[in-house]
């Protein structure tokens, strides 16, 4: 039998393998990868999805006195790094948002494989992505980054709101809402709602998005928002929730670095807008889409996305998210024998000065943020004007 005939006869074999994989057979899925895909689908085909069993935290929520909200700073231009930060662990060394967080590994045998440098973030909300680049009100509940989160913002671009699922009332306004459907790996409720703040072509569209709260709660809180400005205020605030300070960076930047040993690798992403950098629809951390577990590492609250399945060895993907100073960090580890080994490697990520960083990255490859990631991806917030044109894949 010829090679060509053998290939043709093997199509059914490969299709069977694909069907097994797509249908859930074969090796276990890396579920949190599917969380993001499923969550993305929720946004666009929410109307087709069922409504999940709600995790009601209403007993935790009471209403308190109002307090002022920090003003939102709009960023327009980059500021070069001229200040050398104090060296120390990236977990515990607070780097101001206007100083680049230059990170290397201090573990013996680890090196910098690649770096993207720091790229400007210039995304703005658009019809296609009204949750991209918007200034927001963010409330974080007990549990820090691993706990419930509520965000709200508005856009002045046309939005097809019926994409968001079923009709829902926000106070006296009719809007649309969607919740993470039954059967997705997202174990915590994720709710998105949108409604118009007025009539006519000039009216803003309001959005709220939350995880760890029931849809009823989210709609109730949405009705408490005051829309005097583009970014709303919540004059009656739920107990146990803290308003995240608005980012203060004069220019928004995202950077990445790949560090590795002979076996393990950490992709580290950093953005100088803190928690705000983690909730954009193209977030580096998918704070609203992944379910994470709280850890405390060297006194710092870390949201850990554990491996799926938990007993996978070696661990192919595990990630940690934390805030330090003006920066949010997401470290994604590959090929570790345990969570402890991964967190040890995270501890060894060190803030360094520009000259040391330059030396450490002299032989590093370009870790280019692909067109998908740069323009649309759900992993990294970055719009680099020089890299928006798709390029041919050169891998392999």
């Amino acid at each position: 039998m010829s090679i060509e005939d053998r290939l043709a006869r093997s199509a059914s074999t490969l299709d069977a393998a694909i069907e097994s994989r797509v249908g859930g057979g074969g090796r276990p899925r890396r579920e949190h990868r599917w969380v993001a895909a499923a969550a993305a689908m929720v946004l666009v085909v929410g109307g087709l999805a069922g409504v999940a069993t709600l995790r009601d935290r209403s007993s935790q929520v009471t209403l308190q006195d109002p307090s002022a909200q920090s003003p939102v700073v709009h960023t327009t231009s980059l500021v070069p790094t001229v200040v050398e930060p104090e060296s120390g662990s990236a977990l515990t060394t607070p780097v101001p948002s206007d100083v680049q967080a230059l990170v290397v590994s201090s573990l013996p045998g680890w090196r910098v494989d690649a770096t993207s440098g720091f790229l400007p973030v210039t995304a703005v909300p658009s019809t296609e992505c009204p949750g991209c680049g918007a200034d927001r009100l963010i409330l974080v509940g007990d549990g820090g980054l691993s706990g419930p989160v509520f965000t709200a913002w508005s856009v002045d671009v046309p939005v097809a709101m019926d994409d968001f699922g079923h009709v829902a009332m926000v106070g006296s306004f009719e809007g649309w809402a969607t919740s993470s459907p039954v059967g997705t790996p997202l174990s915590e409720m994720r709710v998105t709602a949108a409604w118009r703040l007025g009539d006519g072509p000039g009216a803003l569209t309001a959005f709220v998005e939350a995880k760890g709260l029931s849809e009823a709660q989210v709609l109730e809180w949405a009705a408490l928002l005051s829309w005097q400005y583009r970014v709303p205020t919540m004059t009656v605030r739920p107990a146990g929730f803290t308003v995240v300070d608005a980012p203060t960076a004069s220019a928004v930047e995202v950077g990445s670095v790949l560090v590795s040993s002979e076996r393990a690798t950490i992709e580290l992403y950093a953005i100088n807008t803190g928690v705000h950098g983690l909730v954009d629809w193209r977030s580096i951390g998918q704070l609203l889409r992944w379910t994470s577990e709280p850890r405390v590492v060297d006194g710092v609250d870390v949201a850990l996305d554990p491996p799926e399945p938990v007993d996978e060895r070696p661990i192919t993907t595990i990630s940690a998210t934390w805030i330090s100073g003006g920066w949010a960090y997401v470290a994604i580890g590959h090929i570790f024998d345990s969570e402890a080994e991964f967190l040890d490697a995270v501890r060894a990520l060190q803030i360094t000065n520009p000259s040391t960083y330059a030396a450490a990255t002299a032989d590093a490859a370009d870790y280019y943020l692909s067109e998908w990631v740069i323009t649309t991806g759900w992993n990294v917030i970055s719009v680099n004007p020089d890299q928006t044109t798709p390029t041919s894949d050169q891998t392999g």
Binding site: A17, M161, T317
Partner: protein, 166 residues
């Protein structure tokens, strides 16, 4: 600023896009699996399709949406840095019923090809794609596909025996 799309128009648009994306997903999945293996290929396909739904307006306007979505899938794996670690891992055994017959030597040979060769050979000779269709998916020239197929088959013949007899 224009008004919000009326629901009927948006739903109609979704259905139209679904009619495009559902068959496209089959082609995309085969191409990404041929290139990256079953597990990563399927994951990459899911992400590419999710991306496509989020950006269906842009996708519908593209001259070669399949080629673009292939790169979206590839980019997602690069982001996960799985390409370097697993490329060429076209293993079917873990996904088949125990004892199910399959051409073990052929798949072992396919794993020895370059990514480009394996992808082109699988799509052309396993799934019957035309060279033009493969060129569109991979966003390369037909001449490049011809070269990949020719060299891939040559190597397979060397690996499996001159006539490829099983």
């Amino acid at each position: 600023m224009s008004e919000v799309d009326p629901p009927s128009r948006a739903v109609s648009g979704d259905r139209r896009f679904a009619r495009f994306i559902e068959p496209a997903a089959v082609t995309l999945r085969r191409a990404l699996v041929a290139r990256n293996g079953v597990e990563d290929g399927c994951d990459a396909t899911a992400e590419a399709i999710a991306w496509a739904w989020e950006h269906r307006g842009e996708v519908e306007a593209m001259a070669n949406p399949l080629g673009y979505l292939f790169r979206v899938g590839q980019s997602s794996l690069r982001r996960e840095r799985r390409i370097r670690a697993r490329h060429g891992e076209l293993r079917v055994e873990p996904y088949l019923e125990p004892g199910a017959p399959f051409d073990h030597d052929l798949f072992a040979g396919l794993r020895r090809l370059t990514d480009d060769q394996r992808t082109a050979v699988v799509l052309v000779h396993m799934y019957g794609f035309s060279y033009r269709e493969v060129a569109d998916v991979l966003d390369v020239s037909e001449a490049a596909v011809t070269n990949h197929v020719y060299r891939g088959l040559q190597r397979l013949r060397r690996l499996l025996g001159e006539d490829g007899a099983s």
